[in-house]
Point group: D2
């Protein structure tokens, strides 16, 4: 059955598998100290245009989020996030498990506003009892957001300015980074993004890898003994090559950007099809996730042949569903779903 | 350069890579709910001869250890381990990071003794102030141990009896399980081992997989909402297929056992070579890790052509090094190192 | 200077100090095992009309909240609270520090609604991805609330019914319990309250003691090895007598209720005075905290002679302030402030 | 019945109770911001001869230990302690609950050796895999130790030198500090002690107070936002006066030292009596805890009239018991126990 339920339904890009096969019997040192990791890091630093950036590889999104939040915050600090942010809503309390509160501000189709963050901080520091409260030490945003929306360059600049004013770290969750950067709705480049935050990651799991996220510290701000912290969080792979080889492949010949572009082109095609057929969009966004309102009856039929993601009830007779395209989505699959809609 | 430095220097067994390639574009649901995970679990349950066992896949050893310890202990409980146990010495305090103390007993070439555990518990419960102390809630052992040694069936029975007497969970870290089970020094079968503990895992990372450990709960004792706990610990992979496909391959046609046997046969060959050449063994064991005493001068020369693991200083002119064979070690490599020794 | 800034500005009721003096040189065993603790517990069980209740003494409110939440929740569970609840807003993230998320629902003058809690749970369990989220395991309410309001018996019954339906613990923070129970706005008795929750505490710090909260487990549901957990949280006093003697005094001859009544009578007098003088109340409530709107100019003058609590800015020329009466407030102090208003 | 079971069997020194009574109705601000706290801090800084020291009040020993360890260590660091140290053995895993491992070195009658600490650190940093292990970030010692022994000035200097060399904090647990300083076996002054560590505390609970420990940061090294951390650990008292008034009284007219001296004089008398009667001492020490070997038969009889602390079994017919004197022990009590022995 055809699936548009998420962007992690297939394995890995074939070039990654090919590299696994080619390098398989090469004997390599462990824990990320192999030369594939080194090469991947160099390629990422080049793509980011930051020779002094520090790059690390972790396995998945929640893991990366909790490690970044935990190692970059003091124990008495929490992370500000839109209430819809992944760390707030869908990580089983991983951030709290590590001892930190997620401090929520409103989400506007997944995005938070610099003005709300400023307001939060001003209220906090204006409260004479704020020492009895959790200090805001970080702002967490996702790019694209969980709703597929993108911050404009101007919005990011405003958010980053507030972070600097209140001495907070700006952390960009880029689990779907490629799908943001290659969107026609994106008005910034990867190097520009890197300069508008303190730490971000380049998502692999949802963009062509079997697993893996590449964390980039942009300000010489890598937490001290970060390897030990990774180990302590249970996240250090003995065979670091698993991540190094994948990111080396993804950042060779712009593969990461090319396959991200594929997802966007397929999404735009599907978006047009849905529009033409008169579907209403629950959220307007320019990336690989499409949220449409669909009649329950129709959905029921559709689900016999296509898997889509349930998002939320719209009203008694309609549902919001998510169609996600990915690096692996083909033109044929789009044509197929077009027939079924 | 030839490496005997560890059992995780190569990638994965070729059959695993082949299965990655074959299944790559199949669209699968996430988080371990795909049919490859299901099939792998069934095959493991069959190998363990426990239709009611509950099998879960995690990514690495430290991660598995900390999740098992954390989810199976009450907050006021700690885990008894040999002082040389991996959770005690080499996991960057991951167990403590999760809030639990590792309660140490002496290690005898890596093994703990049932009598020491009993003594620990008797002393604990005999102390009128024991409510001011950490309750022993689990016994952690590794099979094989960090020193390559094996518990006999009788020793395991004794340890398990003490665990039952003092209502403690017995947890067997099987990061190198295959290398234990296929050793000529092993006097029990996988099903027997499974019946002599409450939870154990079948190590993949060191035995043919790129990553992955298969946890087996043997007593209907899976922690409640274990998936949520895995997520909370940052250990839930979106592409669960990464683990499912690997363990499916490893438990098809006894691959796991066959490749484990290879490591043992190569180790036994190397052990004989070392013996014949008059090397002294720092620890006697029957598995894939060989600890020998080597003259510093000789070691220096050797290291130009072979990588081995530094273990510890022996005396001013000698060093203990570790030679590790693995599923990937070839007869040719053994012959090559023979020449160099 | 006269202070109405809080209900913890004085020391302890004189009968408590007297008992300290009388018992001072009696040699007693430590850690709460002395006979004063025993007697206090018996008196509390009698007041609660629950011979099988289990009573424990802790030192302060935040400490009690975090220990109750932490020991009564599974690690994957969080506590539902009004967004204005003390554990949500004013405990420096103590609950998160212990690993649990505070799951917020709206607050209506400090109170949460059973219907919102039900809605939260239904949405949670209705979400097919709820295993990726924090399970609601407890409902936390305060009686009186942080805004001085009280739940009616009917409201409590409704909340408790939702808790039972979704297998959640109902925890009542009674830091100011006496001031709730003795209010004319209260429609339930202490024994009734005890039957409408799973655990609650009788606040001492704000009601006549130097420190201390008496936790009552009402359902045979004391967490296993609770003493050890208290110790682990750093909350076990060597001289348990400090708490035992205070609660023994407070629950002798209904002292706790009498002194609570004093606070309420003084508050009602002050409330009438403020009403008569035309002050606007920011929140209507029947307990010992009075929230009034006051002109900034007037406030400035007033603060030369009376300390009140800043609550929040009302508008550009007005402020909301809190007048708190307590067990120690005298008729003379009320008359004095009347003159100044 | 007469009790020598511990040094916390009585309430508080009468001057403390008197001050409670005298100051009781004074209205004071909360959370340690009252003038009694301020005055007590000034008096302590004067006693320590460190005008720039930073003094904080906490409630009990375990609480103080866990907060100091947790706030002064990075998350990847642990605290080195003698295996018999209080944080290692008798705090229900409070340090681990806060996420840190206690790294043990041998105890010699309760004391650790600078050479063992140095050896630990050299081995740690010499291990090429030390990034997979817990970093030693602090040395914890108690003065006097749990066995009543004292470090000499020279020993402290050696330990502190090792701490400086390996960039570790030296933390001195002074739960019984007065009994150390006033011992004839003590060769340093309070100001000297303060200069030989980074942080220490002056125990009140066991030395004349109902509760309370005064933490002294000696190097401008108070953890940032320490008040918030105290709150987060559930240790911030609303009525900070409870601690301020006690320490103000204890540090007025050298009361703390005088009453500590009483305990030592009584202990020395009792020690002489035991010696004269031929008792064997299990541990030789010059402070207020006396460990003697006693025949089980004799002990049984004695326990009808005196409570002593069980320490450990000596052999089949003998037991080691602890006699503890305190600030409250009288000459009459010594004479009484003399008759019974």
């Amino acid at each position: 059955m055809l699936s548009f339920s998420s962007d992690y339904t297939e394995g890995a890009h074939e070039k990654i598998l090919q590299r696994f096969v080619e390098t398989n019997l090469e004997q390599l040192p462990g824990y990320g100290s192999d030369h594939y990791c080194d090469e991947a890091k160099e390629k990422i630093k080049k793509a980011v245009e930051m020779p002094d950036a520090d790059v690390w590889f972790l396995t998945g999104g929640t893991q990366t989020n909790e490690i970044i939040v935990d190692t970059m915050l003091a124990k008495y600090e929490g992370a500000i996030s839109a209430v819809t942010g992944h760390i707030s809503a869908h990580e089983a309390g991983a951030v709290e498990f590590n001892g930190h509160e997620v401090l929520t501000v409103p989400g506007y189709d997944g995005k938070l506003k610099a003005s709300d963050v400023r307001n939060y901080c001003e209220t906090f520091y204006g409260d004479e009892n704020h020492e009895h409260m959790v200090f805001p030490g970080m702002v967490y945003i996702s790019y694209p957001t969980e709703y597929g929306t993108l911050y404009s360059k101007k919005e990011l600049e405003e958010i980053y300015a507030v972070c600097k004013e209140f001495k907070m770290t700006l952390f960009v969750d880029g689990a779907r980074l490629g799908y943001g950067l290659m969107s026609t709705g994106c008005d910034l480049t990867l190097p520009e993004l890197a300069r508008l935050c303190d730490v971000f990651y380049i998502g692999g799991t949802k963009v062509g890898a079997l697993c893996g996220e590449a964390v980039v510290f942009t300000q010489g701000n890598t937490p001290k003994h970060f390897l030990t912290s990774i180990k302590q969080h249970g996240a250090l792979l003995a065979k670091g090559r698993l991540l190094g080889i994948q990111f080396d492949a993804l950042f060779t010949d712009d593969l990461y950007f090319e396959i991200s572009k594929n997802a966007i082109e397929r999404a735009d095609e599907l978006r047009q099809i849905l529009k033409d057929k008169g579907y209403k969009f629950a959220i307007e966004n320019p990336t690989n996730q499409i949220f449409v309102v669909i009649e329950n009856e129709k959905l029921k039929k559709l689900q016999n042949q296509v898997t889509v993601g349930f998002w939320e009830k719209y009203d008694d007779t309609h549902t919001v569903v998510r169609f996600a395209t990915s690096w692996a989505t083909t033109k044929e699959q789009i044509q197929e779903v077009e027939k079924l809609l």
